[in-house]
């Protein structure tokens, strides 16, 4: 008999229809190098539960399938991560049932798909860009050391996937905490030679309510970040920078 994979998937038709929340179990045939995405693709080809019921295929979000786009983030066996790098052989070496759930810190769209629009809005809020004069040919950028690149590049690999927000106890329905990823972006742009010219503006965006002071230092963010971005360092560094900025602007008043 061919080896099979069992998936238990939490489903819901829409955010405003909590009565449709249900668990459905599917079984798919094992293939070499199988990841969670390919199990969901198999379900599309034959969307029948183990109870024999024909159902609509599971809805999920995915794009690149190689962990650079951040789209396919979901909660797999209780842990938030990308479905593409979640390999079946590692999750269920002995045929254990794998559970899939949507992230909980974002509005649900359907099944495993959520709406992470707030993360992109937050990038606007913290002015996560270098304010260039234009795209005209006005010569090379500022010289930078390779040491600088060594620090900046890992920070710049944030995919806006939402793992850090999902794992953060301070991000919840009662708080306005902006979360680790946006704070990390402030650090990234403030360390760029031209970005630093607008460092104060960026710092001010994370100094008010919902800003950096709301971090509870649980350090879950750095644990779940798939790109191993030093988020705790970024928060600490921005904590110091905001304090300094506050003191100086107070002294200079």
């Amino acid at each position: 008999m061919a080896k099979t994979i069992t998936l238990k998937i939490q489903r819901q038709d829409a955010a405003d229809r909590p009565e449709t929340r249900r668990w459905e179990t599917f079984s798919v045939e094992w293939q070499p190098q199988m990841n969670i995405i390919s199990t969901l693709m198999e379900i599309q080809k034959n969307p029948v539960t183990t109870a024999g019921k024909r159902v609509p295929p599971v809805v999920w979000e995915s794009v690149c399938l190689e962990e650079v786009c951040g789209a396919c983030t979901m909660v797999i066996n209780g842990r938030v991560r990308q479905a593409c790098t979640a390999l079946v052989d590692q999750l269920a070496p002995h045929g254990e049932t794998i559970t899939l759930q949507p992230m909980t810190k974002f509005p649900l769209v359907r099944d495993l798909m959520v709406d992470r629009a707030r993360m992109f809005a937050d990038l606007k809020k913290v002015k996560a860009w270098v304010q260039v004069d234009g795209t005209y040919e006005i010569g090379p950028g500022p010289r930078q050391s390779q040491d600088n690149q060594d620090v900046a590049y890992p920070l710049s690999r944030c995919m806006t996937c939402g793992c850090c927000l999902e794992a953060c106890p301070q991000v919840n329905d009662w708080s306005a905490f902006i979360g680790p990823s946006a704070i990390n972006q402030v650090r990234l742009f403030n360390m760029h030679p031209s970005g630093a010219m607008h460092a104060a503006e960026r710092l001010e965006t994370i100094m008010g309510a919902g800003g950096i002071a709301d971090c509870g230092k649980a350090q879950n963010c750095v644990e779940v970040c798939p790109k191993e971005i030093p988020l705790v360092d970024s928060i600490a560094e921005m904590g110091r920078a905001t304090t300094k900025h506050m003191l100086f602007s107070w002294i200079l008043k």
Binding site: M41, E137, M159
Partner: protein, 684 residues
């Protein structure tokens, strides 16, 4: 005569344009439009930050020449057209090569964390088809970093208000409005066939809506998913390109599909391992003994067959992709010398890509991104073990036909509304979805460049077009928007009612399998005929699918049926184009027609959709040699002749170092002879 106001329609509405797709090309087009004062509605199937450009790894080419090699945009031009086997129109390529250093500097100013030299300058590495260090890079996730930089600039424009032509700021009317999670359905064309806007569908709420636009640019990437599994993202179905093709846009050189030599297999996707691995010194080999039992790392140097270095001493592992892929295919499929699998007792279709001899610190600084992918998916450490790889469908050189206007210096006339214009008036195309820059084979690290350059050209072209448009789309009457919207809604509802036997995902699997097997590295006419018959069969079967989902929210099943139909249309264009072109050129290789045939085939394949004109009630394809289209009141006549006015075509032979450009002798050791067949006509 142009409309009264450039910024407002007669009815007082802000005259916006639309860009479909938020990858590098779409974003760059958007930025250039904003700089020209033109407000943009940006539509994307996914949040733009997740566009497929993130998958590009190795880098972006620019002949900045910081390593004393004598590189120049002229050499870049020559090597690009030679690499493309002379099928690309040369003026756009010249424009691109000339603009490349400025583009890389611009990206640097935007904050892309490029790798640096000890002096703090941009570092450059080697890539395929050249002997020079021409490729700027940010680790091995350059595409991601470039996309983020442009995404950030566009996000800034989301916070900026529009100013009309008198300099009055219009509060709340943003320069860029994003419509993310919207799927393009169709153009809205008026009675004269002029683009007046588009119809799109919100993939969450499933709402179908029309949007007026004074011009539309599709920047929706390639059609890799037509081949089932490829290195492409799941969104790259080519659905938008197919939709506008079915509305009359010409599709060019569809048969030119690039197969990348180094990818890793997966049940859902074939993941790319960048050419930069070889640019940094990685080597391709197979064991000399086809029944070699030892693990790759344990096979000593003397027992390894470095077959690319052997056959191509000049370019070695960095021969262009079409050649490398063919050699790998030859080794594995015909030579049965792929890596021996001790468990199955078979020679797998795999060869080694080895970076284990490179210092680990350097690998971490320059290639960590791709080595991490290998490690995560193959569960094997590539720092210690040679990687096992095989070719995979990667890129489409072909795409929507677009025009250009040649300048006196051989480049492009910037701001000409002809640049990147399709043959549908008011419709532009930019990025992988266009066919313009790569001929029959693309050189590595030229795609990020061509996407950004295309955007830099398309933005100003659309701005000029809008300024000269006689009547704004906001002033068009006669209910064309309502009609288009209704038509698309009816199509969607018809899909929801389909209750046939067929599963659309299974049909797609069959389509991909057929295309992958016989329309990629080696093409035989008898086999392509069978693929064409298969496409007809699948086309008929799509009329008998049962939609898998009837829900009113986030219905991916219904959307897939539409994407599948559009993929089948493009598959026919690709396969029939390959069937017709009886020669071998770049990535298009027919063993029965081994030579390039300039007398008959130095020309662009131009495909036009023929609704219902195919077999058994299916759609067909018309291949034309010329077409006329109108633009701002003028008729423009174009033919399938390729503009080869800058570098005269000559035989393409990578066996000799420096063959791609007479001026590019690169890193050749003293005493090596350099004998290009014939120097390029325009080389100086």
């Amino acid at each position: 005569m142009a409309a009264k106001s450039v910024s407002l329609s007669t009815s007082g509405k802000v005259r916006r344009v639309a860009v479909i797709g938020g990858g590098l090309a779409g974003l760059m087009t958007t930025i250039k439009l904003c700089e020209a004062g033109v407000p943009v509605d940006l539509f994307s199937l996914v949040p733009v930050k997740r566009s497929h450009s993130v998958c590009a790894q190795g880098g972006i080419n620019a002949s900045v020449n910081t390593k004393g090699e004598g590189d120049s945009p002229q050499v870049h031009l020559e090597e690009t057209v030679y690499g493309g086997d002379f099928l690309a129109n040369q003026p756009p390529v010249k424009g691109m090569a000339d603009a490349a250093p400025g583009i890389v500097f611009m990206l640097d100013r935007m904050g892309v964390p490029f790798n640096r030299t000890p002096e703090g300058l941009l570092d450059f590495r080697r890539f395929g088809g050249t002997l020079f260090h021409r490729t700027a890079f940010a680790g091995a996730t350059t595409g991601q970093q470039l996309l983020y930089a442009l995404d950030e600039q566009v996000r800034r424009y989301e916070t900026v208000d529009y100013e009309d032509d008198k300099g009055r700021s219009m509060r709340g009317e943003r320069m860029v409005r994003k419509f993310e999670f919207w799927d393009f359905l169709a153009l809205v064309l008026d009675g004269e066939g002029i683009t007046r806007g588009l119809v799109a569908q919100d993939v969450k709420s499933m709402e179908i809506r029309s949007f007026p636009a004074d011009a539309v640019c599709v920047a929706t990437g390639g059609p890799g998913i037509v081949f089932g599994r490829s290195t492409n993202s799941v969104i790259n179905t080519g659905t938008a390109a197919s939709a506008v093709y079915q509305q009359g846009a010409c599709y060019a050189n569809g048969e030119c599909i690039q197969v990348h030599p180094t990818a890793i297999p997966g049940a859902d996707k074939l993941r790319l391992i960048s050419e930069s691995a070889r640019g940094e010194g990685g080597r391709i080999w197979v064991p000399k003994d086809p029944k070699e039992q030892r693990r790759g790392r344990d096979v000593p140097e003397k027992d390894r067959d470095y077959f690319l270095e052997e056959k191509y001493p000049g370019y070695g592992n960095l021969v262009p992709r079409d050649i490398a892929s063919r050699e790998l295919f030859l080794k594995c499929f015909h030579g049965h010398a792929g890596i021996f699998n001790t468990r199955t007792g078979k020679n797998e279709n795999e060869v080694y890509l080895d970076v284990t001899h490179i210092p680990k610190d350097m690998l971490r600084k320059k290639l960590a991104g791709i080595l991490e992918i290998y490690e995560k998916f193959m569960c094997e450490d590539p720092y210690e073990n040679p990687m096992r790889i095989f070719p995979a469908v990667h890129y489409s050189m072909g795409g929507l036909w677009v025009d250009f206007e040649r300048a006196a210096d051989g480049g492009l006339v910037m701001g000409s509304p002809r640049n990147h214009s399709t043959n549908i008036e008011g419709l532009y195309a930019a990025g992988e979805v266009d066919y313009q820059y790569h001929g029959a084979n693309r050189l590595g690290a030229n795609s990020l460049l061509s996407c950004i350059y295309a955007g830099m050209v398309t933005g100003p072209a659309m701005a000029t077009y809008r300024a000269n448009l006689a009547r704004s789309s906001w002033d068009v009457t006669g209910g064309i928007f309502e009609k288009a919207e209704r038509r698309e809604r009816e199509k969607h509802e018809a899909i929801l009612k389909m209750q046939g036997e067929e599963n659309p995902y299974k049909i797609h699997e069959e389509l991909g399998a057929a295309m992958l097997l016989d329309v990629t590295i080696e093409r035989h006419n008898d086999k392509i005929d069978k693929v064409l018959a298969k496409i007809d069969e699948l086309d008929a079967r799509t009329r008998n699918v049962g939609v898998t989902d009837t829900a009113a929210r986030a219905n991916q099943g219904a959307a897939f049926v539409r994407h599948l139909r559009n993929m089948i249309v493009l598959a026919r264009v690709i396969a029939q184009g390959a069937r017709n072109r009886d020669e071998s050129r770049g990535a298009h290789f027919k063993p029965a027609f081994k030579e390039r045939d300039d007398a008959n085939w130095l020309r662009t394949t131009m495909a036009m959709h023929k609704a219902g004109g195919g077999n058994a009630g299916n759609d067909g394809v018309d291949y034309v040699r010329a077409l006329d289209y109108s633009l701002a009141g003028k008729r423009i006549h174009v033919t399938d002749a390729v503009d080869v006015s800058l570098v005269a075509p000559r035989a393409r032979k990578y066996e000799t170092a420096g063959a791609a450009s007479a001026a590019a002798t690169g890193v050749i050791k003293k005493g090596d002879s350099i004998k290009p067949d014939k120097p390029g006509a325009a080389s100086t």
